[in-house]
Subunit: 304 residues, 2 copies
Amino acid sequence: MTAAAPVAPAPTAAAATDLAPHELRILVAVDRERGFSAAAKVLGLTQSAVSHSIHGTERKVGAVLFERGRKGATPTAAGTAAAAHARRVLRLLDTLAAEARGAEQGTVAGPLRIAAFRSAALYLLPPVLERLTARHPGIEPEVHVVRELGAGTAGEVAEGHADVGIATMGASSPVPAGLIGDVLIEEPYSLVHPAGHPAPRSLPLVDWHENCGSYTRQWWAGQDWIPKATVLTEDDGAVLSMVSRGLGMAIMPALSLNEAPDGIEITDLGPDRPTRSVGYITTPELASSVSVRALIRELRAARQ
Amino acid sequence: MTAAAPVAPAPTAAAATDLAPHELRILVAVDRERGFSAAAKVLGLTQSAVSHSIHGTERKVGAVLFERGRKGATPTAAGTAAAAHARRVLRLLDTLAAEARGAEQGTVAGPLRIAAFRSAALYLLPPVLERLTARHPGIEPEVHVVRELGAGTAGEVAEGHADVGIATMGASSPVPAGLIGDVLIEEPYSLVHPAGHPAPRSLPLVDWHENCGSYTRQWWAGQDWIPKATVLTEDDGAVLSMVSRGLGMAIMPALSLNEAPDGIEITDLGPDRPTRSVGYITTPELASSVSVRALIRELRAARQ
DNA sequence: TGCTTCTATGAGGGCCCTTCATGGACCGGG
DNA sequence: CCCGGTCCATGAAGGGCCCTCATAGAAGCA
């Protein structure tokens, strides 16, 4: 019974496959800073530590995560995917502690990162968040305005930058693969034009980048009226500004019309008007988190 | 730039708040087993290690997670919430590695880890892998022979040790939960016995561990012939060897008969013969990877 | 009162992460 | 051309952390 037996120090070798939180943080930092040295500086570590850590991570994952070059490190496809997951894991670790503390006190607390496109952040979220924080004072919502281009708000959620996304959803792709969500409201498009204009339909159509034409394209196809010209602006706020100055007319969803200035007339397009769906998106693992569920409940209640 | 800085050994104290994977595993085990000692036994650890770990976890989380009592440990509300999150974190950590590998293979090539039972690895995979590597020279298949006991090849896939598993599938449980797959071939069992034996059915039945009797049990139930004795051997190779030496007869699937030595006679069991299904199993994440899809395509093509 | 079965706690050892030194590779300028 | 600058890689040494080994305390049961 002395120290004779070495008492197998590591009976299971399978444990060597999971990544520790510090490894995840290093992975995320390298992905963000695009370099080992830069990541080391941000983390307060040595470049050597980062190099060793990434090396070990690549061994455990079984894939090359970064392309090392003279100008730093650029993530491979595997590295990008791994960093996205790492952000989600770290986020979930944060909520674990926050919600465990909340469960002890019977409250709901912790940060809640929301990605939303501009008009949703300005006109849809404020009343919702007001009621949410009134009901759960511990929740700290944080809204990031994201342009609904490319992956958009859903991309922010998938990559672990946000917990919940407010997104426009085409009928074709309701929710991206690997995420979950639902439609909250279906809002109509209306015609907006300078007030008192004699022939608004003769003006050029003003559109903006985020307004993926697919929502209105089908409607246009059924119209015998085709605008002579189309002007593309930066965002829906700029569209309204142009219309109010008499420079054109536009087809805009209801959310964007909350900020309609004077000098603008809004015309309903009738029963066949185009619509777009606005919904929420989150990850499967966060969907069961208390704060996310509380937010979704308020969103649903607000849609009426 | 000299050694002016005191080189603080622990510059950040915030790192002390996140939970390592092994702590999460212990947390989940205690929640499931309702006791420190029971969890320790399951994890192959000491009760002391579990106690220390939970203590540290509670300190990091900032809440009491378990109510210690005479009959073990029962989770508090905070403990239940924490354990639920811990399970999600562990699952996300698993998918991290799997999806990173999948993303890497999405490019062109990479290692492809296949878990297969013995006879599949010896007689089913070689021609398939030959065509696969001929078509995709970048793919490096790596076959692990796994005994089809317990979780078997599906377990290897579920635990992230393999990308694709070749498994025998009972009609009852086609594919384990959380994994996806499909049946490739349905192969018949045949009677094998020493060549020229006057009364082969009077010999003892030779069976082997992996041959989960469930496939043939139903067939036996419909037979009026019940073997006098059953001998259990290590694997199907040993069964064939015993039969060839006249020590018994056996009911074996076609795949195992590829290596039939001389002195063995194979008899078809007729239209009501028992069959077993052999299929592939993979994870949803990897199912979309190029190499895995390429392998499955070749497997399907080979089944004819 | 023993026996059994829980958990708690302190001391010590080994693993692993980090730092410290290097070194190699590459680029641009004098 | 070489030299300084910027990357990352690598091997060796140190320290923190986690685990095991003891041992103790507490509670139920015969």
